[in-house]
């Protein structure tokens, strides 16, 4: 769909890594977002005071809001996976929003990024299940009575695999569709501020998709922690 101009690609092309940058654009921008998150976290938490400053206040608001949202769903024993869930939310949010800035590419507009996030959630679900229930975790897949096992087991396994697919494709489809629509509108009528409504919609969609991913991951974790039916 034409030539895309990305700042990071130009920086790497100046260093001679043009082909790597062109093929793995989503990886490079993912590194940029990791750098942003780590550096901002390090800077904010350096001087934690009892009477918070402005930056610390913002982060406390975000972290507190997220924790309350998650404990609402899972109960107080869900506190240990809060760092994973909050990181996923902030990472996906910044990934989505950075695609709206001209000159940058959303890593989540590539199926590889979203599939890796969904695979991490999937693996962590089963780790939580095994940690909480041990060998009896298999009872989650077997259904209520023993003679329904040949029917329930394939259905549950397919359902679990479908979770991975639905998480990854939902996020990928939303962000890739937003980027495609923005690209087409810029190509057609960029001079007359026509893409502006799509940019507003893009902010809303980015926020909602990050929240939905986080919410679904929390629900899967809560489902793995609770007793089998």
């Amino acid at each position: 769909m034409g030539y895309h101009f990305y700042y990071l690609n130009e920086i790497l092309a100046a260093m001679g890594l043009e082909h790597f940058a062109h093929e793995h654009t989503h990886v490079i921008h993912s590194w940029l977002i990791m750098f942003i998150m780590i550096v901002s976290a390090f800077l904010i938490t350096r001087g934690v005071k009892l009477l918070p400053s402005k930056g610390q206040n913002v982060f406390e608001l975000i972290v507190d809001g997220l924790e309350r949202f998650i404990i609402d769903i899972t109960g107080p024993e869900g506190r240990f996976f809060f760092p994973f869930i909050a990181t996923i939310f902030l990472y996906i949010l910044i990934c989505n929003l950075i695609g709206l800035v001209p000159g940058f590419f959303s890593p989540t507009a590539n199926l590889n990024t979203t599939l890796s996030l969904a695979a991490c959630t999937f693996v962590y679900t089963h780790i939580i299940g095994i940690k909480f229930h041990g060998k009896k975790y298999i009872k989650h897949f077997l259904g209520p009575v023993w003679w329904l096992i040949p029917v329930m087991l394939p259905i549950e396994i397919i359902g679990h695999l479908a979770r991975v697919m639905s998480l990854s494709i939902r996020l990928f489809g939303n962000i890739f569709g937003k980027e495609t629509v923005l690209g087409i509108l810029f190509m057609l009528a960029g001079l007359y501020l026509v893409p502006l409504p799509i940019l507003f919609l893009g902010i809303l969609v980015s926020l909602i998709q990050a929240m939905v991913f986080m919410l679904l991951s929390t629900i899967y974790f809560a489902g793995a922690m609770e007793e089998a039916h």
Binding site: I169, G177, M211
Partner: protein
């Protein structure tokens, strides 16, 4: 009302039948290959249209329920709206699955100049 629907369906079938007869009378491999892109274009358009239709109906139901709940109990308005937004995102994801399939298929149609060459050659032979 049903008479109109039946008439519409019969007309569509006749038109498509005539088109298929015209294209099959060629007998060349290019005309048969043309069917693939014809099929892709039609299925992409109808696929996403039907998916969006179903999504719109479901979202209308969800928003109706949210508004009714808020009207009965305005204090719970914030919680109801949060649940409604989450429900809308989940319903929309079903439409996004259809959109992803359409994207996969649409990028398999070749350029317009190639297509015009193929069509002109198939009529000439």
């Amino acid at each position: 009302m049903t008479k109109k629907i039946l008439t519409g369906i019969l007309t569509a079938t006749l038109v498509l039948g005539m088109v298929s007869m015209a294209l099959a009378a060629d007998g060349s491999a290019q005309a048969v290959g043309l069917w693939i892109f014809f099929g892709i274009a039609i299925s992409c358009g109808f696929g996403i249209a039907i998916a969006a239709f179903g999504t719109a109906l479901a979202m209308g139901n969800a928003i109706t329920a949210a508004l009714t709940g808020t009207a009965r109990n305005p204090e719970a308005g914030g919680k109801i709206m949060t649940t409604m937004i989450i429900g809308l995102a989940l319903i929309e994801s079903l439409c996004i699955y259809a959109l992803v399939i359409c994207f996969i298929m649409v990028f398999k149609i070749p350029d317009l100049t190639n297509m015009l060459d193929v069509i002109v050659k198939s009529f000439g032979s």
